[in-house]
Amino acid sequence: MINILSEEQKEKFIEYREKWINIGLSIEPANRKIAERAINELYILADIEKPKKIVWCGSPFSQELVRTIILDKNRLHSVSASVSASVMASVRSSVWDSVNSSVWASVWASVSASVREAVRSSVRDSVNSSVRDSVRDSVNSSVWDSVRDSVMDSVSASVWEDVREGVNSYVWSSVRASVGDSVSASVRKAVRSSVRDSVSASVRSSVRDSVRDSVSASVWEDVREGVNSYVWSSVRASVGDSVWDSVWDSASESAYGQHDADWLAFYEYFREVVGLKKQTEKLVGLIDLAKSAGGASPHKNICLVSERHCVLNRDEHGRLHSIEDAACMYPDGWAIYAIHGVRIPEYVVKFPEKITIELIEIEENSEIKRVMIDQYDRDFIGRYLQDSGAKLIDVDIDQYGRPLELYIKYLKNDEAIVMVKVQNSSLEPDGSRKNYFLRVPPHINKAKEAVAWTFEETIQTYKPAIET
């Protein structure tokens, strides 16, 4: 029984945090040899027969499509339109438009010749975009939802049958001996009732219990505090929410890989630093997989595995972010466009000149709408205000007699945009003064108050003796 962590062990927190952040955010090509070995190991450790076939996919998206094509056998033999529908139904509508020909090419490259042959006649049409469009048009949203749900359920179930076995056998073999009945029951319940939960959540809670059992309560607290705050939470913050959610919410619901960095960091720390080898033995395959590939969907006889992202751009808060190109991209071309973590259609980033006042007006999602307005204003802040007919609510002059104007633009389902229009204090080469807009909080209704706010002052306190 380990009762205390040494200073040397505590010093390793940072090392493990950094190491796993790098794993979670890696944009290196997958190391296929190591990944395939890890997958085999993963099956063996979960007491599942090794997969007969490991299929590589260019992205989690392709992986999801391939998974649906391969596993949904009944639908493979139905008519082409419904096959197309079922294939597409596995994909959330938010990523529909992300399907491009290179992704489809990668999907087809990933599917074995025999499978391809079997489905060719019925699925062929789904490869070209006109069919995709017609399917989309012919399947209205209510039909779409029901098809999608039924397909997802059947696929999820088949995944879980395998995965849950592995999880359970591991949990039970290592926990049963020492964890009380109530804990066992709660773990069992958690696993059973969380078919739709992510794999990591249930594995994490189960394995955590078994590690907990190996250390005393006081050390456990110590470790939890230390490891959680230094390793777990920070890795999670850097990798987890922002990247994980965006990528896997879009495409896949059940896969293991580099984005499990948070909890694998936790256990690898115990394994390597604290020496809990036996307790963490079953995780070795997963750890090696996470270090070498994007993510895998284990099934009986077949395991699908994805490449890692090859482009990853984030803002200072770790959210997916790029105002010029894809924030996240995979080798087959599947990409996620996002600004400060808000996922947006591709054109908002790549062709912002296509954004119109009308498109902004009809956008229902207020986060996307904000991004569209920012992009509309990319060359000239205040352009949206001017073009959309904002209301002038205050006119004033500053201490040098230069005009100040305050505008408001009301938005549906979002706070109003309030901006003050001011004149530059320095002269342009031709002797004129440039105007510019500064956005201020929506409660401000005086132009002078707005200017004062921009310097953290009030009308009473903002009185520069000299301004140049």
Partner: protein, 110 residues
């Protein structure tokens, strides 16, 4: 005590650089240009609000984003586009102009 504004920078007199912050603020000098302290850098233009005469110390927050200026002798605040301002001896807070965004307040970048 008077306050001053040079473009997107507001120089506000203060009684004291916060006592409790003393240990957190470290004088910076000679960034990029020898013997110059740079109060703010325009990202797109490359222009800067700077003091070259060595008569002031910029106290930069180690844990916060607040900046203070300790003027030891009358000094000149210069900028490529704005007229020079003479700052008398004293203690000041340097406030960068900000803009509002629903996603968070940020500094003006000229």
């Amino acid at each position: 005590m008077k306050s001053y504004r040079q473009g997107d920078i507001f120089i506000k007199p203060i009684k004291d650089i916060p006592e409790t912050e003393d240990k957190k603020y470290k004088a910076t000098e000679g960034q990029e240009i020898e013997n110059a302290i740079i109060l703010a850098h325009g990202e797109s233009t490359g222009h800067k609000h700077a003091i070259y005469d060595g008569n002031a110390l910029l106290m930069k927050g180690k844990y916060s984003n607040r900046f203070f200026l300790l003027v030891i002798k009358d000094t000149k605040l210069q900028h490529e586009e704005h007229d020079t301002i003479t700052l008398p001896i004293g203690k000041y807070e340097v406030i960068r102009q900000r803009i509002y965004s629903p996603l968070g307040i940020r500094s003006v970048i000229d």
